[in-house]
């Protein structure tokens, strides 16, 4: 056999072997590997490459070398799952670098980070002022995660006391013109409902690329032909607008009427409508 054909066979063999071996560390991205695991992956790769190019000959040596480099990291990672102490040594521990707006210099020194390094890591987390930080933690893989002080955290409905309803995820009921019966059934709807909705919008089933139904039963469509504009459901916004308009009208009536009793009727009604529309704020806005 000529040498190039031997190398071809070896390369193909090694390709499949490494495909299996590299999957061994489990579903972790490359940057999440511990330094030791990273080295072992590199060594496996190099050994396989050297053997496939016929630079080191003996198959048995290669198999033994590969086996060691594959098995030992496996054993270590299993051990590190079982024992907390071993895990701290093997994976390293996280370090708190900033606590309550104060930089902990000795920790910084121990991690061999310069103040500029810290500032640049903070900036990549979109923080430009270390006084805004409640706690910044350096993870074992070198990533910096931080918690902002309460007053610097972004507003959420919860933090300003607006009650929100739990909303179900929208269900995709139409893909490529195919109706997903079980998704519709999960929403308590059926094929006829969907077909009726499509007729209302004047769209044929075959023309729909994707269709979703939200928890309020509104249908959102994407068509194959992007030139055609499908009206998006606006009935909720319309209702809110109607309520707001009624409120404004009633206030106007209350201002323009002369009789005190009528004034009071109108202003009370306006107030009631305002209460209703603020109560439904979270439901009627999408």
């Amino acid at each position: 056999m000529p040498e190039w054909s031997i190398i071809l066979l070896r390369v193909i063999g090694v390709l499949f072997l490494t495909l299996l071996l590299v999957r061994m560390p489990g579903r972790k991205s490359l940057s999440r590997l511990s330094p030791f695991e990273l080295i072992s992956v590199l060594v496996i790769g190099f050994t396989a490459a050297l053997w496939s190019l016929n630079l080191i000959g003996d198959l048995l040596t290669i198999i033994i070398a590969l086996a060691v480099w594959v098995l030992i990291p496996q054993i270590f990672s299993i051990l590190s799952l079982k024992s907390k102490k071993f895990r701290d040594i093997y994976r390293g521990q996280e370090t708190i670098l900033v606590h309550q707006g104060k930089v902990l210099e000795e920790k910084l020194l121990r991690e061999k980070l310069s103040p500029e390094d810290l500032l640049s890591m903070l900036r990549s987390n979109r923080v430009f002022n270390f006084a805004d930080i409640e706690m910044a933690v350096l993870e074992p893989d070198g990533e910096l995660n931080l918690l902002l002080r309460k007053e610097q955290q972004p507003l959420t409905p919860h933090s300003i006391g607006i009650p929100m309803l739990q909303e179900q995820a929208p269900q995709t009921v139409l893909i490529d013109g195919n109706i997903m019966e079980e998704k519709l059934a999960a929403l308590g709807l059926n094929r006829h409902w969907l077909l009726t909705e499509l007729i209302k919008l004047g769209v044929a089933v075959e023309n729909v690329f994707m269709g979703q139904v939200d928890s309020a039963g509104q249908l959102y469509l994407d068509l194959f032909d992007d030139q055609i504009k499908v009206p998006q459901p606006t009935i909720k916004e319309m209702t809110r607008a109607t309520l707001n308009k009624c409120q404004a009208d009633l206030e106007l009536f209350s201002l323009s009427s002369r009789a005190d009793s009528a004034k009071k009727v109108y202003s009370d009604a306006a107030r009631d409508i305002k209460n209703i529309s603020t109560g439904l704020e979270s439901l009627l806005s999408r």
């Binding site: 309803l165 739990q166 909303e167 179900q168 929403l187 308590g188 928890s215 309020a216 039963g217 009935i235 909720k236 319309m238 209702t239 109607t242 309520l243 308009k245 009624c246 009208d249 009633l250 009536f253 323009s256 009427s257 009528a262 009727v265 109108y266 009370d268 009604a269 009631d272 409508i273 209460n275 209703i276 109560g279 439904l280 439901l283």
Partner: protein, 68 residues
């Protein structure tokens, strides 16, 4: 437009909003949202009930503009 017809218009808008709220209450799967919509529809209906007598008063005051 006379005052009476303006009030009538507002009243019918309110009725339409009430009907929409009732249909939301029927459509939604979420029990809490259902309750909120039902309550809102009920409150809207109350407002409509309060305003309806006003139309009669207005028509009595301006009988020449009575429409229907």
């Amino acid at each position: 437009m006379t005052v009476a017809s303006q009030v009538k218009q507002t009243l019918s808008s309110l009725k339409s909003a009430q009907a929409s709220l009732e249909s939301f209450a029927i459509e939604t799967q979420n029990q809490m949202a259902k309750q909120l919509f039902t309550d809102a529809a009920q409150q809207t209906r109350n407002v409509v009930n309060i305003l309806e007598p006003r139309i009669q008063d207005l028509e009595r005051e301006e009988p020449q503009y009575r429409q229907f």
